[in-house]
Subunit: 148 residues, 2 copies
């Protein structure tokens, strides 16, 4: 068969983006990291259409990134909190924030500054868990993949 349709690469980046790659999804997750849990507040902070945000939150809950929790009984109201899988997206959010701070700066310095428990301003750095060195793309010596 000469007509073997070439399947795309099997890749964890792609599988992650299937879940969080839709428009507004990562901004909704950002909001929850910042402590915003309610629909209406997310809406104004993000600037997405209500419609789209409602759909996005639904799929994020379906995919197990967010969880709905009832915080009010009589007007039945839910809030959104991060699941364990959702919390594991923190490095992605911080990575995006750092890139924006560096390469799309705004007047008056970074629009958002986080403080780490150690007392300093948070400056995230990606290190190798084994040697502790900061990771740079050119230090990757080998890529092992089913199909490269």
């Amino acid at each position: 068969m000469a007509t073997a349709k070439p399947a795309p690469r099997t890749c964890s980046v792609a599988r992650t983006l299937e879940v969080v790659g839709e428009k507004w999804a990562l901004l909704a997750i950002r909001e929850v990291f910042l402590g915003v849990r309610r629909f209406e507040e997310m809406l104004t902070n993000i600037g997405a259409p209500r419609d789209t945000l409602a759909a996005r939150l639904r799929t994020l809950v379906e995919h197990g990134i967010l969880e709905r929790r009832q915080y009010s009984d009589h007007p039945p109201r839910d809030e959104y909190v991060l699941s364990a899988a959702g919390r594991d997206l923190y490095p992605v959010i911080l990575g995006l924030m750092q890139w924006g701070d560096r390469h799309r700066p705004v007047d008056g310095g970074p629009p958002m500054v986080l403080d780490h428990a150690c007392g300093h301003r948070l400056e995230p750095r990606l290190d190798c868990a084994h040697c502790g060195e900061q990771i740079q793309a050119r230090q990757i010596t080998r890529v092992t993949s089913a199909r490269l």
Copy 2:
């Protein structure tokens, strides 16, 4: 004026996603990190429509993430390489890959294994540049923002 339209939060995450948040953009960047520089090869590895990939590469070049470089003269052929700004997206790509490995695993282990210069398998970890501790969301003690 009571009709102050509530502007969305000024945030570096949002500004980054304006550049790399469109569908297929981050997968194209992934390919370039893996050493794939040519249109046709990206196309099969990513699985995007030709049309869309062509448009995406165009916007990534416009935004200064990728650069076109002519690698052939007589059939005039260009290849795509990462700019300095593009290389700074490595932490984001690795973050997405790590999340997928952890939360959307495939049979037979991670589909792609990278080796670090230190000799071990690459396991990226986000550390505080000041104290060296691994960053966790609950260790953020304060968020300073123009509008929280």
